[in-house]
């Protein structure tokens, strides 16, 4: 068994170096495709984070009647906080609303000051886990005695959800399409490398090598190409990381900073897995066509 693994690894290593040009072509293709794939993943991840952020910004605003007592308001806030759809409830008093208004419109201060009473209502600002729950929460609020009216943003929410849905589906479709193209190109390049050594495979068959002895050196070689390609790609990504993060931060200004770091770790795993996986798959498929007879 050890002799077999040793043999396969040695053959794979020799095979890689003796067919330098083909190995170089396969590795270069691998790097190019993996860079393309990881670039796309980074972009889509950024898009996803942005969309999540936008979704969390959806707020239901309920204006409260002036008669509502602080106890009524606190009770309502507590019951809202208990709803599974709600992430956060902020109570805005009449005074706070006035301050906010003045802060935003300093020019209107004279008008406001000329009034004897504060015309702005108190309100509850409710953040949702999922914008799709907007209607549930809004309906619940409308039936509360303390609530005067609920700001109707249903149309806006619907439009936003449609746009987000299209962006997500489009992103996934592009990723899948590019992924398949990458798979196809790499498998074909590896196939070329294997075909150029058809003689070797034929000789092995004729002298009575078992399928495993023929297959595994090529599979190890494919894994080696994948590993090398992934390694180079990861180095390129690490070198370019600073620029990528700066670019993303500039592009998606609203993003929380941690997003970039998690991309790094997952991406390295994805690149490694894809590289080695496709290398092995490509070799397996290519050699298989010689073994089935």
């Amino acid at each position: 068994m050890f002799a077999f693994i040793g043999f396969s690894l040695r053959r794979a290593w020799l095979g890689f170096w003796r067919n330098g040009l083909m190995s170089l072509a396969a590795t270069a293709t691998m790097v190019l495709m993996l860079v393309l794939l990881s670039g796309l993943i980074i972009l889509l991840h950024g898009l996803d984070a942005t969309l999540n952020y936008v979704q969390q910004e959806v707020q239901v605003v309920a204006y409260l009647k002036d008669e509502a007592t602080p106890q009524d308001i606190a009770g309502l806030a507590t019951s809202l906080q208990g709803m599974p759809q709600v992430t956060h409830v902020e109570s805005v008093s009449k005074d706070k609303a006035l301050q906010d208004f003045l802060a935003r419109h300093p020019d209107e201060a004279d008008v406001i000051n000329s009034l004897s009473t504060n015309p702005l209502p108190a309100s509850l600002q409710i953040n949702l886990r999922d914008p799709n729950d907007y209607l549930d929460v809004a309906t619940y609020l409308k039936n509360q005695p303390a609530v005067d009216r609920v700001l109707n943003i249903k149309q806006t929410v619907d439009q936003m959800l449609t746009v987000i849905g299209i962006l997500r589906a489009g992103g996934t479709a592009i990723l899948v399409a590019v992924g398949l193209i990458v798979l196809f190109i790499i498998v074909n390049t590896i196939r070329l490398a294997v075909v150029s050594r058809a003689d070797e495979i034929e000789i092995m068959r004729l002298v009575g090598a078992s399928d495993a002895f023929i297959r595994w050196p090529f599979i190890f070689e494919g894994a080696f190409v994948g590993l090398l390609g992934a390694g180079v790609t990861i180095c390129l990504l690490l070198i370019g990381q600073g620029q990528i993060t700066a670019f993303l931060a500039g592009y998606f200004q609203v993003l929380p900073v941690e997003a970039a770091v998690t991309v790094g770790q997952n991406l390295i795993l994805i690149v490694l897995g894809t590289g080695v996986g496709i290398g092995v798959l490509g070799s397996y498929l290519s050699v298989r066509s010689y073994l089935i007879r």
Binding site: D199, I203, V207, G208, D211
Partner: protein
């Protein structure tokens, strides 16, 4: 071979109802024009192809009923050489021969003595560390013969082994095959080389259009009436 018919997917019928028995230790020339079915006979014997009808038995085993994983074991009982030698260009003579054992999982300490032994048989001990490109045609074919012998095969198949060699060298190769036969190995040689076949006077099986048209012991290349 019992009642073997072989037709290829493209519709060409290569063999029609061929019956052929080769006893152990025999030396057989397989002759006939191109396309007569010589290559197909060889492909059936090494189970590179399966018969459309009939059965091919080797050492009492029906090759058509072998399991996939048994095929390599059967092939190790057969040594085969071709017109174009099929040597690996970047391996030395020694490594080319040893490769045949290496790919069957043999250990280094078993490989080295076996390789030395067959290199002595074919007379290439002095060229063991050269690459195929540094050898003459005859030496390359002898390397291929050594590789085919290194498993101690029971059956030795030579497909036009002298096709690329000049007459002098061809004779050397034939002498080598006769010696191998004397060591007790069954030899089947497909050839166009009339001079050699006629001179050696061994069993001659002639194929034409996929049928055996002559099977004569001690015969010449052409029919002698």
């Amino acid at each position: 071979m019992q009642g073997v018919t072989k037709s290829y997917p493209n519709g060409r019928v290569a063999l029609r109802g061929v019956d052929l028995t080769i006893p152990e230790g025999d030396f057989v020339f397989l002759v006939g024009p191109s396309g007569a079915g010589k290559s197909t006979v060889i492909k059936l014997l090494i189970r590179d192809e399966l018969p459309t009808k009939g059965a091919v038995l080797l050492d009492g085993r029906d090759l058509g009923r072998l399991k996939r994983r048994e095929v390599p074991k059967i092939r190790r009982k057969i040594g085969i050489v071709f017109q174009d030698f099929k040597l690996l260009p970047n391996k030395t003579v020694r490594d080319n021969v040893g490769f045949a054992l290496e790919v069957t999982g043999a250990r280094r300490r078993e490989i080295d003595p076996a390789v030395d032994r067959v290199l002595r048989v074919v007379g290439l001990t002095g060229q063991a560390d050269q690459l195929p490109s540094q050898l003459s045609g005859g030496e390359q074919q002898r390397t291929a013969i050594a590789r085919a012998l290194v498993h101690n095969p029971r059956l030795f198949i030579a497909d036009e082994p002298t096709g690329n060699l000049d007459p002098m060298i061809s004779w050397e190769i034939i002498q080598l095959l006769l010696r191998i036969n004397e060591l007790g190995v069954t030899v089947l040689m497909a050839t166009h080389n009339a001079e050699v076949v006629t001179a050696v006077r061994k069993r001659v099986v002639a194929l034409e259009n996929g049928r055996i048209v002559r099977d004569q012991v001690g015969a010449a290349y052409h029919r002698e009436d």
